[in-house]
Symmetry: C2
Subunit: 336 residues, 2 copies
Amino acid sequence: MTNRIRLADLAQQAGVSTATVSRVLNGKDTVAPSTRKAVLTALDLLGYERPERLRPRPSGLVGMIVPELTNPIFPIFAQNLESTMATAGYTPLLCTQTAGGITEDDYVQMLLDQHVAGIIFVSGLHADSSASLDRYNRLDELGIPVVTINGNQPDIAAPDFSTNDAAAIAQGVRHLASLGHTHIGLAMGPDRFIPSQQKALGFSEAMENLFPGEPAPIVNTLYTVEGGQAAAAQLIAMGCTAILCGSDIMALGAIRYCESSYLRVPDDVSIMGYDDSPLMAFTNPPLTTFRQPVRSMSEAALTTLSTLMNGTAASPRSLTFQSELIVRKSTGPCPN
Amino acid sequence: MTNRIRLADLAQQAGVSTATVSRVLNGKDTVAPSTRKAVLTALDLLGYERPERLRPRPSGLVGMIVPELTNPIFPIFAQNLESTMATAGYTPLLCTQTAGGITEDDYVQMLLDQHVAGIIFVSGLHADSSASLDRYNRLDELGIPVVTINGNQPDIAAPDFSTNDAAAIAQGVRHLASLGHTHIGLAMGPDRFIPSQQKALGFSEAMENLFPGEPAPIVNTLYTVEGGQAAAAQLIAMGCTAILCGSDIMALGAIRYCESSYLRVPDDVSIMGYDDSPLMAFTNPPLTTFRQPVRSMSEAALTTLSTLMNGTAASPRSLTFQSELIVRKSTGPCPN
């Protein structure tokens, strides 16, 4: 049994008149595409089923390969890419990995078997300076359009869409220095990832600039809660009063370490995250972090992939994005 | 350039001897499957690439259709299903929706075009009492094995794996009553979803049992942060000192409403979530909630789907799972 659709509810949700809703539902083509989309979105949000004639005919499979879904930045990338692709008429296939499970290369082979039109790699092996690049060259030879997000490996020809990690971390150092901190540490995942290397570079340069000759300790563990916990323990033992973390979930681990050591955040130790993944405004304390412009990055990556898939790209360009400093409550003045 | 693999690191991570690691890497078949898996997991965790000969040959595409990825319970279901499928040798295809984007039916068609071996629906239209069931009957006619997670629509033949929502909410009411609360409200998403109906049923029965004749207010909004905020406003205006929410992110919205109204959680108002999605231990205050047994549900769903795909199922059964009450700090004694 299908509920009858209430035009007034739809009109209110979409911000249009009931007459317009009716025109869209009846498939009239006298409606602007943006209005049509607003009405379809209202249908979905209010949970009505779309009438058959309004279902888009998706064209072209596009693979999205993400490392995993437990770090909340990856679901949000996947969600934004999916939304962008659906709007553009592509069918997204999301390939997510787990330790011990299916690898990036397995997924690529599967996507090729399914005659995929293009592939977006998010924080994949392209971001790992120790990984072989043959896989990307092979896709290039096969003529499969590829773009990468986060981890601009310079030896890959595919256009890349990454945040300027070095600049963000340098801004983080300045934020902490302005609060009076001089003993600042960097907690990072494995050093072989290009974003790790970029963050370390930005950190070392900013520290050398602000505190020449002083120690600028960097601890490499894993990009997990437990990794953050372990790195914080080491950095605090070295005397750090402020810790920049390579990801938000590392920062949550660092905060957990402080709690277990009866150190208050930010009264005793300041902690900064990276990504501004969802829900970071709800943590205790709300996390000061850097927001990756996920939507802009997703849109730019898909627009470029789309021109490559249409064969119309003159010279596709990589783009660098700026992360924004979001100051919440996990950073504060240096204790005396 | 590929880094040389350090046997000692792998052996330590996998908890086996270097000789065993060496046997696995050389593809010897004198190693127990569980040991082999531990070494492969260690390879992945430490970020080494798997030698070609150790790559599994995936067999059979299995579609997972989830509603969206912004509610953190869905990425965790996807991640668990992916991991379970990879272990079982299937290739998971994750289909995620956004408002205005690709619908469940579009994805089903795409999966059929790709000759999918089976489909798992998580909180899909099968959970919507107003949705047409024709789509599931059609898959049944086509002989495509299907299982559903959360939302046991009684008229669908496919085996279902859901939590006992009514029992959990009733336990929540008893938890709050034991803290002295008598004015308890339920904040839910739309009423047409079967889990919403089950939660409302459990709530009404428990309230009638503990406080016969007293009001047991239920407010239906949306399963989002903003939905929780709006529902909390209404329930608190009605005099509730404790609010059970239909999802964790609704509970975060309810907490946000309390903050903006200068009400302390849990001193003035107690708030409970539902799902125990990732990071809920890190919220302010840490959230009291119900944990869905995501891994057990995923494994049971895939095991049953697997027997259906092999054509060996005598009579596949639905299973009901119990959510666990996780008491953290968002619930406390009723204020005077």
